[in-house]
């Protein structure tokens, strides 16, 4: 399958030629397949935010290419604008970008910028609101009257309303309570399944990632040291800790067991896997 979006030798240098020069990305080759649920993990300052801002053309590469469905998004201004709409980007703490008088108007900002007519805009606003679990009567409220968690839903809906083929979310669950985390992750899963869109989730919560993504991409110091299914990536427990990332708590327990001399597969990361592995070890088989 051809990747829907990929980067080739992507390099980005901030403030080139000043004392503040900083290489954020150093020749990154990244790709995402259509319909894939992808996770990007990296420490603060690793370059993950820089990477995702290249995917929808907010940042221009210092060198290298960003290809959307095989076409360079910087080949002409139209391609760049197309990338803006086909690759939806939800920033960290997106609730701080709300500005309209009503929730409805705020969600419709994206579709209106796309030049869609009233009817299509209305359909998209309502369907986006539905995906993030906003009630109809909330659409006419001021976004500033809502709670923090609801504001975030409005902001996410504002991007979903553009119906992007690739939806990127930067730490969408930061600062939410466990219930809020569950519900937002659920909304994203729904969008993934119903729309068949590619989802790229950026986080440093290994637990959240382990449960949801098909493939994990680790970013450290502007490079990609490992990528693959979570199970494979978590085998590099020590290296991950060296990058300040660590592995899920369950995986850590199994790594420790292995280190203590127990012959057990240390790459588990969910409760079910852990249960199966321990029962198998005790010779009782799966229950």
């Amino acid at each position: 399958m051809d990747p829907i979006i990929e980067t080739k030798q992507l390099t980005h240098i901030y403030s080139a030629g000043t004392p503040f020069e900083h290489t954020a990305l150093a020749g990154i080759g990244f790709h995402a397949l259509p319909g894939e649920y992808l996770g990007i993990i990296g420490h603060t300052g690793s370059g993950k935010s820089t990477l995702i801002q290249h995917l929808n053309g907010l940042l221009k590469p210092s060198s290298g290419q960003v290809l959307l469905q095989g076409g360079d998004i910087w080949s002409d201004p139209k391609a760049t604008r197309r990338a803006r709409f086909q690759v939806g980007l939800v920033f960290q703490y997106p609730e701080y970008q709300l500005f309209e008088e009503t929730v409805y108007k705020d969600i419709s900002f994206g579709p209106k910028n796309m030049g869609l007519d009233e009817k299509e805009t209305d359909r998209r606003v309502r369907s986006a609101a539905y995906f993030v679990g906003l009630r109809d009567d909330q659409l006419n409220q001021s976004p500033f009257e809502l709670s923090g968690g609801q504001k975030r839903r409005v902001a996410i809906a504002g991007v979903i309303a553009m119906e992007p083929k690739v939806l990127i979310l930067d730490e969408p669950t930061a600062g939410l309570d466990p219930e809020g985390v569950e519900s937002i992750l659920g909304n994203i899963r729904d969008y993934h399944q119903v729309r068949g869109a590619t989802i790229i989730l950026v986080s440093h919560s290994m637990e959240d990632m382990a449960r949801t993504v098909d493939r994990l991409v680790v970013i450290d110091d502007g490079k990609i040291p490992f990528q693959g299914p979570p199970r494979e990536v978590f085998q590099h427990g020590d290296e991950l800790e060296g990058m300040g990332l660590g592995v899920p708590q369950l995986t850590r327990v199994f790594h420790r067991l292995k280190a203590l001399g127990v012959d057990i597969d240390p790459s588990v990361y969910t409760l079910d896997q852990a249960k199966a592995a321990i029962l198998a070890k005790l010779g009782k088989g799966a229950v």
Partner: protein, 269 residues
Amino acid sequence: MALKDITLGQYFPGNSPVHKLDPRTKLLAVVLYIVALFLASWFISYALMLAALCLSIAISRVPPKAILRGMKPVVFILVFTGLLNLFYTPGGTPLAQVWIFTITLEGVYRAFFMVVRILMLIAGTFLLTYTTSPILLTDGLESLLGPLKKVKVPVHELAMMMSIALRFIPTLIEETDKIMSAQRARGADFDSGSLLQRARALLPLLVPLFISAFRRADELATAMECRCYHGGEGRTRLRQLKYRASDYLTLALFLAITVAAGVLGHFGL
């Protein structure tokens, strides 16, 4: 466009002897330098000032390019001043006649010196802001203006307001950058369209920016009150400003330059 590239406050971190001077010394030296610039009147005194400026820049290791770059916005004022002086200097030896204006030798000299004076003025003040962090600068100002407290000028409060304002410039720039990116991601267009369209396009940027600025101000006020902040009375400082030998030397040098420029200027040199 990366807003981060705008160097507000203009500080260029470094470790040169100029960076290490007490901010008060630098402030006073710049004041003396400006006075001297206005006392200078002819090639010899200007050469002295130029030597002092070039030497200071060399010691500071600030790239001369950075200082030149800062001159760009004032080109218009320079041209305007130059032309005004060129055409409106009365008397003297006429050189050329353009329509109703007469260009005189005195006019040419005056225009030249005026432009050089402005350029050197800007270069000197830039050197101050390039080598002194904003926080040190306000500390220095507060200390220098200290005596005004006796006549009930709220010097500490003014300095605190200045520090806070300076402290939040980078934060607000970062915030603006973030909100702009977020709205761009939703298809907002800040760079094209008519003037009216552009002004309207700023709304999605300004509303969130104001809200967050007020939120930050509120949070900061609460945090300060939680730590029992109550103004300048009896407050001690983390960074104590202290004059050292190099500060006295610098001040003495600049005082000497000012006196020299004054004397030379007085004799029309």
